[in-house]
Assembly symmetry: C3
Homo-oligomer: 375 residues x 3
């Protein structure tokens, strides 16, 4: 199966990563599309891909890895003093101050403590694609839990809310600022709103081949609301990037499109000099962004999770990582993070939706292999 | 075993619930007394009972399902502006403001965060039966944990404390207000202080047939204190409703007596119009009451639990339920809740104390059956 | 193997404890050095030891049981009004108020919520041995998590931080005040900074005989930082008391040296009259010190833990104990606590480092045996 042989290059000493990637490929079988990229101290040390028609420039739906991209903008604005994590959301966005939400801080919002995981009556596809519509709906709602007393993954909406704060504070969308601060200066192959002339590089997500039980959580449960299953006519999560309205409008929570290099490179840019360009974030900001905020039982995922202000606390998921690692995975199997203590940035994409959703065995094998090689 | 055949009626489409109830009955064997009732959008769709001498009007000890009844009164008083969840308990009850309890809010008290789960030296039966005695004792104590930093089930006492707040604010007992606000206007068969002329309908709780290990928790442990095992001469939990002083005085935490219809009907009344009477609670109050407050490790139960302000967050226990469901189970196997998003109210009683205590397999089977039928 | 037979005495009714200790000894095999002591209401009811050359006066490294000794001093200072648990650390120690630490309270610091579990770049042995050096380094750092939002075991450093508060408030080291308040008046055989003339009683810790996997946590992970594995040239935890600089300087978090009687006796002194000397702590202080503060997922240990302000909430670990028990175990297998509700104080030492580290099977067997005998 020639199309499954890993393509691409690795730096000296990283051959074992190629072997690990080949093993994953072999286990997944024919037609498995994937990319993996790692940077060490600003140099690309792993750059591999596999699958029919796939190259290192192929673009995949980023799913929730989009949240990491969006929140690099928030981190930059905090660094610049435009936003303050301890400021109330309602300071920037006065209409938010209803139904017991007046005191919610930006820090709480970013760490999934606001209790606004979805819409009481669900969203249509068109609504989900429009961050301002999502923000207006949720800004008018009552939180599902006492804000600050618990947390739950705002799966489809968190960056619509943080993005509204950005828009109110700067007059710009979070998507536009991502281009200005991140993708343009650092040549990062991550796109909110995919231009028509790049569509030829986009690879639609394949449905999962495995089938498991549907969720035990009812459509009106907290999980049901968070994943918009309370609208029976809404889109399926797995197909989101395949839908043109999502790809074109690029909602900040789930609508990005990227290569693995794009995912890794934005984090490499965040923490270190990249091709001569100074880092996006200063060490103080990197440390602030890596601080754990919400650790414990996630009301939506119904399992132990860990968030910083805007990111996954990725080091809580992969024990070889250094304290203060931050990033964001995606339901489609994506994984991406920066590990400032070890100088590593990582990006992974795959084109077949995994079951269960989220980063799984692929990243669990690849990340330790990269750390062993980087030692 | 004719006395075990389920009696009663179900609405069209709910026959499967009768089958489920029959299967439970058969598994429990001869002499298993139980009732199950469900309302959908204000209509009774399930009304079944079983057991020798049992009817739909039989009354069982409600155990901790009593807390749900009592806290419907608190919800109503919050709605009416008489109580404020964010007000300090000591505002209503000045003597409470000792030993680091000055800042505890009503919201924290109702969500089991106050750290007053029992008496340092235990209660006698007579003390346990008298809410004002319980409140005075605990109001003078130091919390067992830092208030607001953790929670633990105030198993025998929470509604004595919330009831004292009600009494201070209104001059009425919480029991009397339950009659005024709930049981009288909505014809709810739930009684705090069972009148002599209804004693003929009361069914004493049978002891458990199964025997398991006694608790590993010492009598002076936090669990021991919460369940009053630190008084070796105190009553056993299972026998509480069988004791006349409990049944007659109806302490609000554990002393109610009800049919399954009473349990279901009070929740049906809380969230919707019932026989032409407007709902007890407005949608805003229903949403406020369903908000999660204490989620995670319960210091008394030593397991994962979820409370709203005064109720179990029942949707955390049964995944088919809608977000914002609220209710309260009982150690004797009772279960009762309102599910406002799906318009369901549920009540279950059984007359044989289960092992382990609490709602178990019965409700785990019946609730999904009702939801499948109601779809 | 005569050297393995338990030596020492037990009070009437406590023979079963000797049997339990003998069984532990037999299971551990030749050369197992250990001591166990228990007091009941101020009387020593268990005083046993075993191992070649071991006596009841042998001194072992106390490891983290040292934290309990140090924090008895803090409890006494709180009782005397010199320290206030709710005061900010930065009130006593102004340089601490940097990088978002201005609002951290002494209570939060003592309950492992401050997020300062280790040094960004690790400590040398000499640094670890000097509490003031540790305090200065960590006082200048950014917390690893949002203070007060989570907790993690400050394994090697917590009492350097609390000790700095003590030093700023009193002008005395916490070690010196331990002598003044505890070891001198109550003849407690616990030493911070072992005098040369007591060295002959010191028993070096033997390495573990069992070998298990090394931690999956990377050296730069939060756990790696907390256990100083981010300095590859730093000392191993197991050997700490064997190193003269630790034994001589007696850093308050891990540097004490004690007999089991010393461990038990300091807790007996804390809660009750001992040989005619009034208790160190008043009942109010005992209750305050036993209050749970940090309960749940420990970010460093990555498991469920429970701390009071300065101590382990020991009753959360041994279900027979009474609510409000407080103490501190050690990595070397030590266990020590006071159980004020049952009037018990307990101390255990062993000279062979256990695998996994910490109090294990020994205390799990001995403590219930003592409670059964004390009934």
């Amino acid at each position: 199966m020639i199309e499954n042989t890993p393509q691409g290059t690795v730096a000296d000493g990283f051959d074992s990563v190629r072997d690990t990637f080949a093993a994953i490929t072999a286990a997944e079988g024919t037609g498995y599309p994937a990319q993996v990229v790692a940077y060490r101290h600003g140099e690309r040390v792993v750059d591999l891909w596999t699958g029919p028609g796939i190259t290192g420039e192929s673009l995949f739906g980023a799913y929730s890895a989009s949240k990491g991209a969006a929140h690099l903008v928030v981190a930059k604005l905090v660094q610049d003093g435009v936003l303050d994590l301890d400021q109330r959301v309602s300071h920037y966005w006065p209409e938010f101050a209803v139904h017991g939400k007046r005191h919610i801080t930006l820090r709480e919002l970013l760490s999934h403590q606001a209790g606004l995981v979805g819409a009481d009556t669900g969203f249509t596809l068109e609504e989900l694609a429009d961050d301002q519509v999502v923000a207006a709906r949720l800004g008018a709602q009552r939180p599902y839990w006492r804000p600050g007393r618990a947390f739950g993954y705002h799966a489809l909406v968190v960056a619509a809310l943080s993005g509204e704060v950005v828009r109110r504070a700067t007059g710009q969308t979070i998507q536009r600022l991502f281009t200005e601060y991140v993708s343009a200066p650092y040549a990062v192959d991550f796109h909110f709103g995919l231009p028509d002339d790049l569509e030829y590089r986009f690879v639609p997500t394949l449905p999962t081949e495995q089938q498991g039980e549907t969720s035990a959580q009812g459509p009106n449960s907290l999980s049901g609301i968070a994943f918009n299953r309370n609208n029976p006519h809404g889109p399926q999560v797995w197909e989101l990037p395949n839908l043109e309205v999502i790809r074109k409008q690029g909602p900040a929570s789930i609508g990005g499109v990227a290569s693995a290099d794009g995912l890794a490179r934005m984090y490499a840019a965040a923490i270190g000099t990249l091709d001569g360009v100074a880092p996006l974030l200063e060490p103080e900001t990197v440390a602030a962004v890596g601080q754990l905020h919400s650790v414990g039982y996630d009301l939506v995922n119904r399992s132990q999770k860990a968030f910083t202000a805007g990111f996954h606390a990725t080091s809580e998921y992969y024990p070889v990582l250094g304290q203060g690692s931050f990033g964001h995975s995606g339901a489609g199997g994506q994984q991406a993070f920066a590990d400032p203590r070890n100088g590593i940035a990582f990006g992974y994409t795959r084109g077949r939706f995994p079951f269960p959703p989220g980063p799984g065995r692929d990243s669990e094998l690849l990340i330790p292999a990269i750390y062993a090689a980087a030692r």
